[in-house]
């Protein structure tokens, strides 16, 4: 997720200071990792540097003085461009898991030649599947909790369908691991 554009989007509602931006971000994207304050301020400074945001003043609200940031016209144009841009239908984590499976098969073959034990690709897939299922249980508990708001449900759903795609792929791959092993050895 482009933190830069999401912060710019939050600024579209009106000037805001870093602390409130962080709070809004964490509330609107409960499944994302909470933003670090440092990242919020670094991102805001870069947005100002690039002319997409500007310092609009300060408020103290009885406490320490805080800088208010607002979006510029250029920032609004950039936001519209980004929001309308189609996200590349890129593969997600499957690629890394697939790479590990193939490497496991190669290493196991090399180890077998020297009479040593090597990694077990099928066992790796089982362990990966267990880790995926554990995360899916956490997300499901979050969205099925009484009173869960729709933002929480939809963002958990997004993660769940992607994890589910990985699990389906792992199931198919586990069932075909012997054929894959033969193919990797033959290549």
């Amino acid at each position: 997720m482009s933190t830069r554009h999401v912060l710019l989007g939050l600024l579209a509602a009106g000037p805001c200071h870093g602390y409130d931006l962080k709070r809004q971000y964490d509330a609107r994207f409960p499944q994302a990792r909470p933003l670090a304050y440092g990242q919020v301020y670094t991102t805001l400074q870069r947005l100002v540097r690039d002319g997409l945001a500007a310092v609009e003043g300060t408020d103290s609200d009885g406490g320490p003085e805080r800088t208010l940031y607002g979006s510029t016209d250029e920032g609004a144009r950039e936001l519209a461009r980004w929001a309308g841009e189609i996200t590349a239908p890129a593969p997600f984590v499957t690629n890394e898991i697939f790479a590990k499976v193939v490497v496991s098969i190669l290493v196991a073959a090399a180890a077998a030649r020297t009479g040593q034990g090597g990694p077990d690709a099928a066992a790796h897939l089982r362990a990966q599947r267990a880790a995926h299922m554990e995360r899916m249980r956490e997300l499901t508990a979050l969205k099925a909790a009484p009173g869960a708001d729709l933002s929480t449900v939809l963002s958990a759903d997004y993660a769940l369908v992607h994890l589910d795609a990985d699990v389906r792929w792992m199931t198919t791959t586990t069932a075909r691991i012997d054929t894959l092993t033969a193919e990797v050895h033959a290549a």
Partner: protein, 246 residues
Amino acid sequence: MSPSDEQLFPGETALITARGLKKAYGRTDALRGASLDLHAGEILAVTGTSGSGKSTLLHCLAGIVRPDDGSVTYGGERIDRASEERLGELRRTDFGVVFQFGQLIPELTALDNVALPLLLAGVRRGPAQQRAGEWLERFGVRGQADLRPGEMSGGQSQRVALARALVTGPKAVFADEPTGALDTLAGEQVMTALVHTAREAGTAVLLITHDARTAAYADREVWLRDGVVDPGADAVTVQEAARHEG
């Protein structure tokens, strides 16, 4: 030393224990030595591809089918050896079953479908219908009480079937692909209703599914492959089985 059940589930004992279950249909081996524990109040998903033996396992555990070999113990009682009469009694009082297609009785209203197990257990009509109405309420289908199965959506029928499975206050509910015929949203409503109600009532659920998203509603998962519980998919079951077989 492998961890015992007591270490992994402190204070819990298995409600139903299956050991080394084998079952063949003709020349096809559906189960080839499957072992698992269902603990009181837990929601356990049994997953696996088509033909892995999931439904046969459920049928053996629920006393619907007798295994060719192995044992099924419920509260200390060997139900794989129990009489038909005793199995019928267990299915009326201690076990509830839900299938992919609710299998409600088409001639009866939703209310009468849910009241039926209570009537069979000897409850009088008035109190049975009152309790059935309360269970329809819990599953959010009170408004459908007077409808017949053909007049309800798939999701509504399935929630009525769940109410029927839980109305007698069973210790365990066996659900075989309960969302298999539903779209995603209706399936989620059924699963949420099942999980919340089972937790409230302290009912154990054995949930058969091929779908990881449905399995994620459970507390844990065992993976069935070619009629046996896959090693590594569920450490407890494998260790338990090894201890038993060893």
